[in-house]
């Protein structure tokens, strides 16, 4: 069943259709939130919030909008609200002490890599991080990201470019870099 079919049934009041949508989209939304906020537990909590807001906003969804864009917009707002709330609280994110959950199968080098990327993403501005995550991980087009963020596509491209450069710089600062080859 397509998204449109499920959405149509959902808007007609069929609760199970929304459950099906949630099953389909929850992993992707949770992954996106995890990258935005840097914490798996928080991401899981926030994903519940995203789908609650989506359910409550049934009447605002219009078929002419892609469902994924609409859902990611809700998720992006939830993530940004969470980040702003963290900044207001005394305990800010200390990017130098980002802890990662390790599994027995993760070796030290992998742990450093994961910590480096998470710190790098955390060092980006909200808008830059959003542009990078949506383009790289979720593979949305710049036009779709522009619709989600309600900014021109050219602005999104600019944010994405600066995010990638800043991330590269941060990784290099942490010693995670490719050595330049000499001809």
């Amino acid at each position: 069943m397509t998204n449109s079919d499920l959405i149509r049934r959902w808007q007609l009041g069929e609760r199970s259709a929304f459950d099906d949508l949630m099953v389909q989209w929850q992993p992707a939304i949770q992954r996106f939130l995890m990258r935005m906020v840097g914490c798996a537990q928080t991401a899981e909590d926030l994903s519940q919030e995203v789908f609650l807001k989506a359910f409550q906003a049934t009447d605002t969804y219009r078929d002419r909008t892609r469902f994924s864009s609409w859902l990611y917009k809700i998720a992006a707002n939830v993530a940004c609200d969470c980040t702003r709330a963290r900044i207001k609280r005394p305990q800010a994110i200390d990017t130098t002490k980002i802890q990662i959950e390790t599994s027995p199968s993760c070796d030290l080098e992998q742990n450093e890599l994961v910590a480096g990327v998470r710190a790098g993403l955390a060092s980006l501005g909200e808008e830059q991080r959003l542009a990078l995550i949506l383009r790289h991980y979720e593979q949305l087009s710049f036009e779709e990201i522009a619709r989600i963020t309600e900014t021109p596509a050219s602005t999104v491209k600019s944010r994405f470019s600066s995010a990638l450069r800043q991330l590269e710089s941060e990784l290099r600062r942490r010693g995670i870099a490719q050595e330049d080859t000499k001809e």
Partner: protein
Amino acid sequence: MTDKNKKPDLLQCDEVGELLPLYLYDEVSSDEHRRVDDHIGSCESCRQDLDRLEFTRSTLDQVAEIEMPDTRDSVSLPVDRRSSSVGRKRRSPSWGKIFASVSAVLLLSFAVLGVELQISPEAVTLRWGHARSPVSSEFNAKTTQDKRVVDADAFESEFATIRDELVLTRKLVHALAANVDTDRTTSRNLYQLIARRLNTLETGVRRNDFRLNSTPANKLAAR
């Protein structure tokens, strides 16, 4: 060189630097792509800049794999290295001729379907259920004991078509692994058949032609 003598088509390093992130993600026009290509073909500094950005991109993917490893089903079969039989000349594998590819490892990736076919001199591997595909998200929901688990029967009926097709394709992969080292014609035919089937599946999933329709009342498993 004065400005009026500078060829207008050539980009300067700072201009290339601004374009490189978008160039890396294929988000530049064909004209910009050509001009960047021309520049980095003769500019070591910009080429290394591109390499660093490419490394960053691959690091993001690598970390994603560590954090959320693929729970992909796969079948990987060693290439059947048959010993020469009497009177039959054993052909050594010639990947370039068999698959019209110059690479030692042939990789076909079907992003929407979530299937990957990899052929190397050592093994033929078919993976399905990529983390980002709609098919895999359902598999993940089932395998990770998500809070809401679709009723097993409804789940099975929804993906029966795709699963049957993949099972059949897996058999073809078995045949390919058995023949790829010795029978060039059969290998090529099998490879083309597999690629065609996977392309059809990819298109079907993209268009939702398979009507992934559950029974009228999807029951949620009781917690």
